[in-house]
């Protein structure tokens, strides 16, 4: 097991190197000069603009810029052009907020989507099944920013139960988590339903039924547990998508988060922030995937053997 993990860890290094190179090249494709974008409207002198450019190393060839950036990443000294604050520090301050939102919304979506999908599969083409697929289509079709504004109107303005905006407390988390969960409910419901229907056609289910097992037992002990495994895989893979979706939610609810940090920095062409935070997200994503793999390996010895 230890050796398996060590190999997996070593494999991350070339991946991360590639990501860092791509990220540092991508920035050249986004049009606009960051220093000019910031200062042209303030009438800063060309000398000031030039000195900032020099300090950032923008007048250096790309390999030098890349080396400087990687050195900065390792020492934590990469600073934003706009705010002049250390990027890694800001990222770490905002990360808990985004993770909180992601975990809460996945939890909520799973709590609603898994039972719904299972129930629908238990009685395919029943009225319940139609209701479930209708409900999941609805949650998928509602634009998230619209749902956010409606929830704010009802629960914050009219009922005054929850704050409309901001972050920090669990009360602030409720509305954003509901909105972000709504998009995932359909995915989870449909995955669970499809896999359960598939499992229900398996030989061992027929065997279970033939042994005289009650339908309840067949459904929940045999079919459901097996259908859950692919669902968990989908949830894990969905994590990257969650981050991008969270950008909209974070903006509408004025909630702090790394999604907003990245988008704001792209718009301002604050490229040290873009580079550093995209690289950090990649580290995070790879880390989560590795953990998932490690869990599989721990649970299922076949996975270890096959790699």
């Amino acid at each position: 097991m230890a050796r398996y993990l060590a190999v997996r860890l070593a494999m991350l290094i070339p991946v991360l190197f590639l990501v860092s190179v791509i990220v540092s090249l991508l920035i050249y494709l986004i049009p606009g000069d960051p220093v000019r974008a910031m200062f042209a409207r303030s009438g800063a002198t060309p000398e000031t603009i030039e000195s900032i450019r020099h300090e950032l190393g923008l007048d250096q060839p790309w390999p030098v810029q890349y080396a400087k950036f990687m050195q900065g990443m390792l020492t934590g000294e990469v600073r934003s052009i706009r705010t002049r604050t250390p990027v890694i520090e800001d990222f770490m301050k905002l990360l808990p907020s985004t993770v909180q939102l992601a975990v809460a919304s996945v939890g909520l979506a799973a709590a609603i989507g898994i039972p719904l999908g299972a129930l629908a599969a238990a009685r395919p083409r029943s009225a319940l099944d139609f209701f479930v697929s209708g409900f999941s289509s609805l949650t998928l079709s509602i634009p998230n920013f619209w749902l956010a504004l409606v929830l704010m109107y009802v629960f914050s303005q009219q009922l005054a139960w929850l704050p409309a905006t901001g972050g920090g407390s669990l009360r602030h988390l409720v509305l954003p988590a509901i909105v972000l969960a709504a998009e995932q409910i359909a995915l989870i419901t449909n995955t669970v339903r499809a896999h359960m229907l598939e499992v229900l056609r398996e030989d061992y289910v027929r065997t279970a039924r033939a042994k005289g097992l009650a339908e309840r037992g067949v459904l929940w002990s045999h079919a459901f547990r097996n259908a859950l495994i692919p669902t968990i895989t989908i949830l894990g893979l969905n994590f990257g998508y969650l981050l991008s979706s969270a950008v909209v939610i974070e903006a509408v609810f004025a909630r702090p988060g790394i999604g907003r940090m990245i988008v704001d920095s792209i718009l301002a062409k604050d490229f040290p922030v873009v580079q550093a935070s995209v690289l950090l997200v990649a580290v995070l994503y790879l880390g989560i995937n590795m953990l998932t793999d490690a869990c599989y390996a721990a649970i299922d010895p076949r996975m270890r053997a096959s790699r």
Binding site: G43, I49, R82, T85, M152, T165
Partner: protein, 529 residues
């Protein structure tokens, strides 16, 4: 299986009980004035007044820092940290008598040495000043005459210096704190203002608390001594709809830059007050690139000015929350010339005549054409001007001009204009001094990327230089009037509308005012009576 469902249920119960659904915490009101939350449309970049170029930073900084002198609501100069001042005959020396007994938030004294430190710091290239160095102008050095007298010397006349000195961008920072925090001063600001900096949570809030020692407020304020409010929290709501929701839900007591389309909702609701205002300085205008065809043709530029129905623009695209703009300065800006008002009335016949004269004829598709070139104009539109750009596109279409609109982020649009890839770029530039005309039109700023019309004309440059540096009032007035007329004669811009900057306030918050430059005055503000 029931194990799983059971644990999920327990989790849901735990979460809901921790959140305490249905119990909204009451607003804490400890002191007489209470605490308020102000919703801004951007997060400041930093709060180092000498570094940041952003108006949104100014809004926060004017609570933390005091200027040497103030401008009251009418624009008159009033004593601030300087009790009095004298300007030499030739306009190059400014001598300030400083107020005694003023201390920074860190306890260090404010004196002549501190003023010298501040002005030297702004002028030092190492500070990388975004805006303050522009305001400081042709600074040479500062002499400490005695602990409370300081003489600021310029290398050439600096009639704009007093205006610059009255802005928070030139606010007095604590030399000891600059020494202590270095590059991080912008996140740990220390001044002499009526509020002290407490905390900055990125993307969430900035908190300030009352400075109990404050007794050097300007004489024209509503009271003296410390501020009435116990504290101010600034929050950041980038989305207009979110700002409105935050105000309506009580998350914020004041929100800045309310969308024009939301004003109707707020004005009819007794729970809120609206403080409407239009920015002074360069109004919302479309800058025309004189380096890129076909806007290098003055006939095209003039025709666009005749073709814009500004009243319709204000009524429809700005929801009536603005007024038509006719020149490069908004009415109310010092040295505004009303001569420009009659230059370009909405007149499609005149627009057509100007184009006909310039050789632009209508082709069979209804598009103007000259030497085989169709009248096609490229316009990079940012989210800021998108709401009205399409109406302008339709209006310009009436004279046979095709406007191609590309939506992009501001940094990209700016770069496209600098590279002469596009013809039109819209902007607005709030300023309490006509020096903004030099920034946007003087040919020496073409390389820096702020003179985006790229128009280079010694006559215009000379007028702007006279306006900027003459100490003779009559000569300044004449030069600036001449510059405004020349800019419109050459039709370097299409003025569109005044820049609406509307603030909405919860009805129970009193004493909030807007200063000469439309920034929020919170010194006299209080919750309740």
């Amino acid at each position: 299986m029931s194990r799983y469902i059971g644990s999920i249920l327990v989790l849901v119960l735990m979460v809901t009980s921790a959140i305490g659904l249905g119990s909204r915490t009451a607003l804490a009101q400890d002191g007489a004035g209470g605490e308020i939350t102000v919703g801004l449309d951007f997060e400041p970049d930093n709060l180092d007044p000498h570094v940041t170029p952003y108006a949104v930073s100014h809004t926060v900084m004017m609570n933390i820092f005091d200027p040497l002198i103030w401008r009251d609501k009418e624009g008159a100069f009033q004593p601030g940290l300087a009790e009095s001042w004298e300007v030499s005959e030739d306009g190059t020396e400014f001598t300030f008598q400083l107020r005694d007994g003023v201390t920074f938030h860190d306890g260090t004294p404010f004196d002549a040495e501190a003023v010298k430190f501040n002005l030297d710091r702004i002028a030092d290239p190492a500070t990388q000043s975004g805006f303050a160095s522009t305001l400081l102008g042709p600074y040479d050095h500062t002499e400490v005459v005695d602990p409370l007298t300081v003489k600021v010397v310029f290398s050439s006349p600096a009639p704009g210096f007093l205006d610059g000195a009255s802005q928070a961008f030139m606010g007095m920072v604590s030399p000891a704190a600059v020494e202590k925090f270095g590059a991080d001063f912008g996140r740990n600001p220390v001044g002499t203002g009526f509020m002290k900096f407490v905390e900055w949570a990125p993307q969430d809030h900035i908190t300030l608390a009352r400075n109990d020692d404050y007794n050097w407020g300007a004489p024209f304020f509503g009271h003296t001594g410390p501020a009435l409010l116990d504290g101010i929290t600034f929050r950041f709501y980038g989305e207009g709809a979110t700002r409105l929701a935050a105000l309506q839900a009580g998350d914020a007591d004041i929100v800045d830059n309310v969308l024009n389309s939301d004003l109707i909702v707020l004005e009819s609701d007794p729970a809120f007050k609206v403080l409407p205002a239009n920015a002074i300085g360069l109004p919302i205008a479309i800058l025309l690139n004189t380096n890129a065809a076909p806007t290098n043709d003055v006939a095209v530029r003039q025709a666009l000015n005749f073709a814009l129905d500004r009243q319709q623009m204000v009524d429809i695209a700005f929801f009536g929350a603005s007024r038509p703009a006719n020149g490069p300065l908004a009415p109310g800006t010092p040295y505004y010339s009303s001569e420009v008002e009659s230059m370009y009335p909405f007149d499609l016949a005149r627009a057509a005549a100007v184009l006909d004269e310039g050789g632009w004829t209508l082709n069979e598709n209804g598009i103007r054409e000259k030497d085989g070139q169709q009248l096609v104009l490229e316009w990079s539109v940012t989210p800021w001007d998108a709401p009205w750009a399409e109406l302008a596109q339709a209006q310009f279409g009436q004279i046979g001009a095709v406007i191609q609109i590309n939506q992009m982020a501001d940094a990209a649009a700016l770069e496209a204009m600098i590279a002469d890839e596009i013809n039109l770029y819209s902007t607005a530039w709030a300023s309490s001094d006509p020096v903004v005309l030099s920034t946007v039109f003087h040919s020496s700023n073409i390389d820096g990327g702020s003179a985006l019309t790229k128009y280079a004309d010694p006559e215009l440059d000379a007028l702007l230089e006279t306006g900027e540096s003459s100490i003779d009032e009559a000569a300044r007035t004449e030069a600036y009037a001449g510059a405004q007329k020349l800019i419109m004669d050459q039709a370097l811009i299409v003025p569109v509308a005044l820049w609406p900057q509307n603030v909405a306030i919860a009805a129970d918050v009193n004493g909030v005012e807007r200063d000469f430059r439309n920034y929020l005055w919170l010194y006299d503000a209080a919750v309740g009576e």
